[in-house]
């Protein structure tokens, strides 16, 4: 069994990006990070993104509007970032505190600065196999983990558990693309799926993104399968200082015994998302500077 080490692969990508950015002449790539409110997870994610940007040589522009900001003011702020020639990528940290409308805010981000890949045009471009778009960070990270672990999806049966817009659907569309490394047969399962284990057991590659702690058990997995665990669930654990531990959507102890490759939680898909955000920001910078 090979453990897919997301920390190691993310660190490789970050150091590759650092080397690439060092070669850029003129201004540095710039990522605007907009955070509204003091949600502790958001504070920590944005700090991590800022630190990683700095490490690479990307200018992280933190913007902290007051929590009282109106939807209209937030969207005006996004529009001013769209228009700002020194900004390459815009990230509005999710979740936005209520009553702000996250979906509407995301749609205001100019598609060519949408480094989170949430704009419908960027989802459409994945379906169209149009490489000019931005792929959202988690599915992009999954594909990169597979590629760098020498898992070629060609002719394989990929089963995706979960049909979310930010993981399940885009990763299914990516695995389906007619290009090197992809070209898989893809099945998408979800809460409405009947006979789930009959289907999951057919998977050569199983991608679990349903947000249910340790849902995938050994009897649901074919021996020799490659398992990518996207779940990050908090489970109460009084033995921990924090009072909880993190689990994936896969029951790691039993499943890991029969698979060929598996990602751990934490340390699998998680670290890849920030790395892919940085990769998207550098892509945005290159596309914008080449245009000029």
């Amino acid at each position: 069994m090979q453990l897919i080490d997301g920390n190691k692969i993310a660190a490789d990508i970050i150091s590759e990006l650092k080397a690439e950015v060092a070669e850029f002449s003129g201004r540095k790539p710039c990522l605007a990070l907009v955070r509204v409110g003091e949600d502790p997870a958001s504070v920590s994610y944005v700090r991590k993104k800022e630190k990683t940007a700095e490490e690479i040589g990307i200018d992280g522009k933190i913007i902290l509007p007051p929590i009282t900001i109106s939807q209209q003011e937030l969207e005006s702020l996004i529009e001013s970032l769209n228009a700002d020639p020194s900004v390459d990528g815009i990230l509005v940290q999710s979740p936005l505190p209520s009553p702000l409308d996250e979906k509407s805010a995301f749609k205001k981000i100019s598609p060519d600065k949408d480094v989170d890949g949430f704009h419908p045009i960027n989802i459409g471009k994945i379906a169209q196999e149009d490489e000019s778009g931005f792929i959202s960070c988690t599915p992009a990270g999954i594909m990169e983990l597979l590629k760098r672990s020498n898992v070629n999806l060609k002719g394989k049966h990929v089963v995706v558990l979960g049909r979310s817009l930010i993981v399940g659907k885009p990763v299914a569309l990516l695995a389906l693309q007619k290009k090197a490394g992809a070209n898989a047969t893809v099945t998408i399962c979800h809460s409405g799926t009947e006979n789930l284990s009959t289907i999951s057991k057919q998977a050569d590659v199983l991608i679990a993104a349903i947000g249910k702690s340790e849902f995938v058990t050994r009897d649901m997995v074919k021996p020799g399968c490659v398992v990518i665990d996207v779940g990050i669930n908090r489970v109460a654990d009084p033995s921990k200082k924090t009072g909880f531990r993190l689990t994936g959507d896969v029951h790691f102890p039993s499943v890991s015994e029969i698979v060929s490759h598996i990602t751990p939680v934490p340390g699998g898909v998680g670290p890849m998302t920030v790395a892919m955000l940085m990769k998207n920001t550098v892509k945005a910078y290159k596309m914008r500077t080449e245009k000029k």
Copy 2:
């Protein structure tokens, strides 16, 4: 076995649209049909669209630029139609004669007039389950055939053969949506799929869109399956005046014996595409007039 009669269902939709359009006050909905060149199939399709529009009470605006039109001139024409407040929908008939770049031309059509549903933002909206977009006509027609034949996809396993952007991918995303009538488990197979018949035999609903004459044979289908045949293939047949006959992607004589529902070719999915184009045009009209 129930034959799904596309001619009948398309006629129902057309008469419903006619009744709806009759209620509109003020100007009629308007569909601009752009055809370049004299490809016989294109001439016939555009004529059919024009006739159906007329029947419903939609103003069909036929535009026939010279075959010498440049890409830039064609795109300027599209832009003038985008800006024309009297035009609700724009259709550029495919295929465009070389050296015109069809993909680039389609992208110029304003998403809110893109009644063919080819703009990436309209594909993205299907993935996002955002009802404000336009669904391309063939997948929309398939969903409508199923709905009007009382085939509920909920919990069913839908297997799509073919991953094209205009049929396979959008119909898979539609079947996957978490809404009434849909909510299926979906598998997408294609030229790179191994053990195809093992998968196709699991289908409760099989959608064949691969463009290979009578490829799906009886041994590939589970008894009681619902079969939607999207293929329209020309097969040489000296006994016909035209020298050919039309076949689907399914071997109808043998498969129809074991299924619960099946679409014939011709007369199944084919007639639905024009009906759905008209439905999209009426939707575009309503969205545009409500805005004002």
